[in-house]
């Protein structure tokens, strides 16, 4: 069996904290033993609330942040511990798409320079030349060659995100890490970008790690989902499985909190409290203070990730004994009425 495109094992990152003002020194475990695989052509959704460590995980994989421990393998080759120059060869295979379409493009460079930079850095001679390749990429993401000489500030947020995607695609990478790529965009534009990513994946077979706090967007684009809470993975499963039968109480809470586009939808029971401070994470299972099913064991002992069915792992002591989950709000699962469906079809024409 060939190795997966990306294999992450026991990834851990501790940040030393304490600058001038905090006095004491301490550390925050931002990512705590995260493991997963990602195959070529596959999209893995990494979801969690802000501050749970999902973005750090993405940067650890790219080694933009040095991991404290753990292993990252790209196509069977270990990346951790590689010297910077040895890392460069791998960089063309892994790219990053950012959340903020404004700060991720250098304001003093033209679109051509931005998209052409990866080609220059890696000394790639393309048949049509750099200009030709940039034009090609611009067309691929739904912009045009006429945009090459412009500066980022002349574009809207959605267009900028397309430029960012074109830059990521320039080197034909095997893996793209998308860090909340649509959360800064308007709803109508979000869908454009999600569709674009889907289309590009189908065309290029690139593997996507899709980091997001928006479960429905993840559901739309990912084949598998990993749920993160305070630095740890709490559940991973194929998307359909996860949305049909989530096993971790936190996953359920997340799904329950999705607002349904329906008037007077019945409110779901709510999760209490908020994400605890990573400076002082709760003992045992990090989720226990907010968990309606927590027991003494949850306080004392951190549950290990166990596979309950092929590809479905969950880190909960009580996963087997939880009551059944009522399912997503019907408003989210119901197909649009025929009239609406017909009208919506016009948008795809």
């Amino acid at each position: 069996m060939s190795p997966p495109l990306l294999r992450v094992r026991g990834l851990r990152k501790e940040f030393a904290i304490g600058g001038l003002f905090s006095g004491g020194r301490g550390k925050v475990v931002a990512v705590d033993g995260v493991s997963f695989d990602l195959d070529a052509g596959e999209t893995l959704g990494l979801v969690g609330e802000s501050g749970c460590g999902k973005s750090t995980t993405g940067r650890l994989i790219l080694r933009l942040v040095e991991p404290t421990a753990g292993s990252v393998q790209l196509r069977g080759e270990e990346l951790t511990g590689l010297k910077p120059h040895a890392m460069i060869a791998h960089r063309r295979n892994m790219q990053l798409i950012f959340q903020d379409p404004y700060s991720s493009l250098n304001p003093s460079m033209t679109v051509r320079e931005i998209i052409g930079e990866p080609l220059q850095v890696h000394g790639i001679d393309t048949t049509p030349g750099i200009d030709g390749r940039v034009a090609e990429l611009l067309t691929l993401v739904g912009l045009g060659p006429q945009h090459m000489r412009r500066f980022p500030h002349e574009f809207s947020g959605g267009q900028r995100q397309r430029i960012g995607i074109a830059r990521a695609l320039a080197l034909e990478p095997r893996l793209i890490i998308c860090d909340e790529p649509v959360s800064a965009l308007d709803v109508s534009v979000q869908a454009q970008i999600l569709n674009l990513l889907r289309r590009l994946q189908a065309q290029t077979g690139v593997g996507l790690l899709f980091i997001s706090h928006d479960l429905m967007a993840v559901r739309y684009i990912a084949q598998r989902v990993a749920v993160m809470y305070l630095g740890r993975l709490v559940e991973t499963a194929p998307t359909t499985t996860l949305f049909a039968a989530p096993l971790h109480p936190y996953t359920r809470a997340l799904l329950d909190a999705v607002p349904a586009p329906e008037h007077g939808a019945a409110p779901r029971p709510l999760l209490d409290g908020e994400l605890p401070s990573p400076l002082a994470p709760p003992t045992g299972c990090h989720f226990h203070p907010r968990c309606p099913f927590a027991t003494a064991r949850c306080v004392a002992e951190a549950p290990a990730m166990t596979e309950v069915s092929p590809g479905h792992g969950v880190a909960c002591h009580h996963a087997a004994t939880l009551p059944a989950w009522p399912g997503l709000s019907p408003a989210l699962t119901r197909p649009p009425e025929p009239r609406l469906a017909r009208l919506l079809a016009r948008f795809h024409a």
Binding site: L64, R91, S103, S104, N106, S108, E117, V121
Partner: protein
């Protein structure tokens, strides 16, 4: 400042999109326009001094020493009978240069240092910042006086000294600018591409450090002009008989009570130029502010 701006356009075509926006915004501020016009007028006067000045700024007349303003001498004559107005016109050259050269000196040294310190960090940053702290603790003028005295009294030395004395502030600013640019996503983006540190520094960080420094440049030019005047006032700047506004003030001080016109004219010239630079600096700051009130 206006010269610095046009120079900026020529050197950094990559930034011209933003620069044009900034210029457009500047044009909408009436105060900046007036300030720009004043500065421009001074530049023109300085460049056209031989044609603007009615008399030879060095020609002294033993018979007309310290004469009050008259039709022959619009701003009177000085301590050795030279025409104050003509000296004022020629002195504009020195003062404009005194605003420009120290800024160029400070920028050309502090940009690489600030970049190094702010981007590389680590012990280099630590050592550099201690030296900068030490220099900051010595008053600006004292460093300038000591350096100017060491280099010898000469206008170019004075400008060099002022530029060096301004270094710590500039290094700090450049460092802060480098650090804030370093935190931008596009730097991470280019890092993830595998760009070399040199490329990141030169291609991505350096061009984006410039806008915040640009504001400081105009303020610095203003202080440099005052510093030149102060050094000349202490006899360490422009050497006689060549005129500079500061040396004119120096000469005037002894005759304050009897010939106040000797001091009032150069003082007002300095004030006008410096306040214009400061106004333009404020305008630039506003124009560069992304929120753009």
């Amino acid at each position: 400042m206006a010269t610095a701006l046009t120079a900026g356009t020529a050197q950094a075509p990559a930034a011209d999109g933003r620069l044009r926006r900034v210029l457009r915004r500047l044009q909408r501020q009436p105060t900046s326009l007036v300030a720009g016009a004043v500065i421009l007028a001074f530049i023109i006067i300085a460049l056209a001094a031989p044609w603007v000045a009615p008399q030879d700024p060095l020609a002294s007349s033993f018979l007309a020493v310290r004469k009050p303003p008259s039709a022959a001498h619009w701003l009177g004559t000085d301590e050795v009978g030279r025409d104050v107005f003509s000296r004022l016109v020629w002195g504009a050259r020195t003062s404009m240069l005194a605003g420009l050269i120290p800024v160029l000196v400070a920028l050309s040294i502090s940009l690489p240092l600030g970049l190094l310190s702010g981007y590389a960090g680590g012990w280099i940053d630590m050592v550099l910042m201690r030296v900068v702290d030490a220099m900051l603790a010595i008053p600006f003028l004292i460093i300038a006086i000591a350096l100017a005295a060491f280099l010898g009294p000469d206008i170019w030395n004075a400008m060099l000294a002022i530029g060096i004395a301004a270094l710590p502030i500039f290094v700090r600013l450049a460092r802060a600018a480098a650090m804030s640019v370093r935190a931008e996503d596009y730097v991470e983006a280019t890092r993830s591409l595998g760009s070399s540190p040199l490329r990141i520094a030169v291609r991505h960080i350096l061009p984006n450090m410039l806008p915040p420094l640009l504001v400081q440049t105009s303020v610095m030019a203003a202080s440099a002009i005052i510093a030149e005047a102060s050094l000349s006032f202490l006899g360490l700047g422009q050497q006689p008989p060549a005129p500079s506004w500061g040396s004119m003030l120096n000469a005037a001080q002894r005759h304050m009570a009897a010939a106040p016109w000797m001091a009032i004219a150069p003082g007002c010239a300095i004030f006008l130029l410096v306040i214009s630079l400061n106004v333009l600096g404020d305008g630039l700051r506003d124009a560069l502010d992304p929120k753009g009130r």
